[in-house]
């Protein structure tokens, strides 16, 4: 399978990429690692007349610890994140990265590319939602920041505006005694998530939950924050019964999708189970932190 012909532009800076996107207009697509765009182009689901390759722009790849957040460059490979040493509470990032596709794909695919492609069954959305990532966009008008909860607009559609490029994702460093986890149901090796659940939990000295965030992918037509679950966790001492009661609301307000891999009812059931397990895992990690 061969992509339709396109004009190739290699940007050497973010400014140049933004300028190229302005010049080329709607017909241009941004190429990062190419592991979402190229398969789509080979199947001719995407036929851009021009491709702007940002893959070599200096400074867009890597993980930088800042005072109150961790900044992940948009070109950071899944494999980089799977191997990264991250602050306590951000475990779900590495865990999620390590469950994406297979080793070869993890070496080429980028977190930024995946988030911009916005496949509703991709792994990253769950973790980025639960860890309250902030997406940093640069466009003709300068920089703006979009919270993960506002990023996923529709299947394969995000809050990215024409001419903008995602340059980084900032993850707030969670408070002391926080833990996070990502769990995924996939039918076989290399697959997308039928259900993916990420949870971040913070507890105080007495073990009471002071903060919780849950992200779910693969279930609805867009990845979402399971706020009904979060509301039942915060303020309570989390035992198995409380967690199960909260996780039972994992698909509240969501219409689970049906496809060849799983029916809606099955997805709803698995979402509850995986959210419960992800919260339990995250809680265990939070409790293992010094008070």
């Amino acid at each position: 399978m061969i992509p339709a012909a396109f004009a190739y532009h290699r940007a050497s800076s973010v400014d140049e990429a933004v300028r190229l996107l302005q010049e080329l207009g709607d017909d241009a697509r941004v190429l990062a690692g190419g592991h979402s765009l190229l398969p789509a182009m080979k199947l001719r689901l995407a036929r851009p007349g021009a491709v702007v390759d940002i893959g070599r722009i200096e400074g867009l790849r890597g993980i930088r610890r800042q005072v109150d957040h961790v900044e992940v460059g948009a070109l950071t490979r899944h494999a980089d994140l799977a191997a990264a040493r991250l602050p306590a509470g951000l475990e779900a990032l590495a865990e999620c990265a390590d469950r994406i596709a297979d080793p070869q794909v993890r070496r080429r695919g980028t977190i930024g590319g995946s988030l911009c492609h916005a496949d509703p069954s991709a792994d990253w959305p769950a973790a980025v939602l639960a860890l309250e990532g902030q997406l940093v966009l640069v466009g003709p008008g300068g920089e703006r920041v979009v919270p993960a909860a506002e990023w996923f607009v529709a299947p394969f559609m995000t809050a990215l505006q024409p001419g903008e490029i995602l340059t980084a994702i900032r993850f707030p460093v969670p408070q002391a005694r926080s833990g996070s986890a990502y769990l995924k149901l996939a039918r076989k090796a290399s697959d997308f998530a039928i259900v993916g659940a990420a949870a971040r939990v913070t507890v105080d000295g007495s073990g009471r939950c002071t903060g919780a965030a849950v992200g779910v992918t693969g279930v609805g037509d867009v990845p979402y924050r399971a706020t009904a679950v979060e509301d039942l966790l915060v303020g309570r001492v989390l035992d198995d019964q409380v967690i199960a009661e909260a996780a039972a609301r994992a698909v509240e307000g969501v219409d689970p999708v049906s496809d060849v891999h799983a029916g809606a009812e099955y997805r709803a059931q698995v979402a509850q189970v995986y959210v419960r397990r992800a919260v339990q895992e995250a809680l265990g990690r939070a409790l293992s932190q010094p008070a």
Binding site: M1, I2, P3, A4, A5, F6, A7, Y8, R10, L31, G34, H35, L38, P39, M41, K42, L43, G49, A50, V51, D53, G55, A101, D102, P103, Q104, V105, R107, R108, A189, S190
Partner: protein
Amino acid sequence: MSQDSRVRVRIRVNGDVHEHEVEPRLLLVQYLRDVLGLTGTHVGCDTSHCGACTVLLDGEAVKSCTVLAVQADGGEVTTIEGLAQHGRLHPLQEAFWEHHGLQCGYCTPGMIMSALDLLNRHPDPDEETIRRGLEGNLCRCTGYQNIVRAVQAAAARMRAAEAAAAAGGGDD
């Protein structure tokens, strides 16, 4: 604006530098097979699942059906043809042969390139590490048992060769 304007690429493949004007849409696997005639790298699924097209790009296993030749510009590629040295098969090639790590052989070049990347990272992998490390390569013949055995045998041989070389007793 022209959509067929070619792009000059310079890629080192198995040690030799090649320069060509290529169409931007040319995939790395096509460049290797159709432009350079290195047909050891196979096209299997052509959808970045099966791993038959795996090569090393700058030392890392990648699926060459999902990389444009222009993305590999300036890079260094190793294909299955680049493994044998001085007329001697690579330990992985020998081990796949001795342990029947292949039947039809279609997946083998990609499987070996992935295994090489795995052994570069984990010189002494356990079975679980091998199976996870080869998750991106599908084999429809062997059931993987003998592939795992072959990788284990190659790992032992490569470690022994390394130890011998470190002791000054290398025979190459």
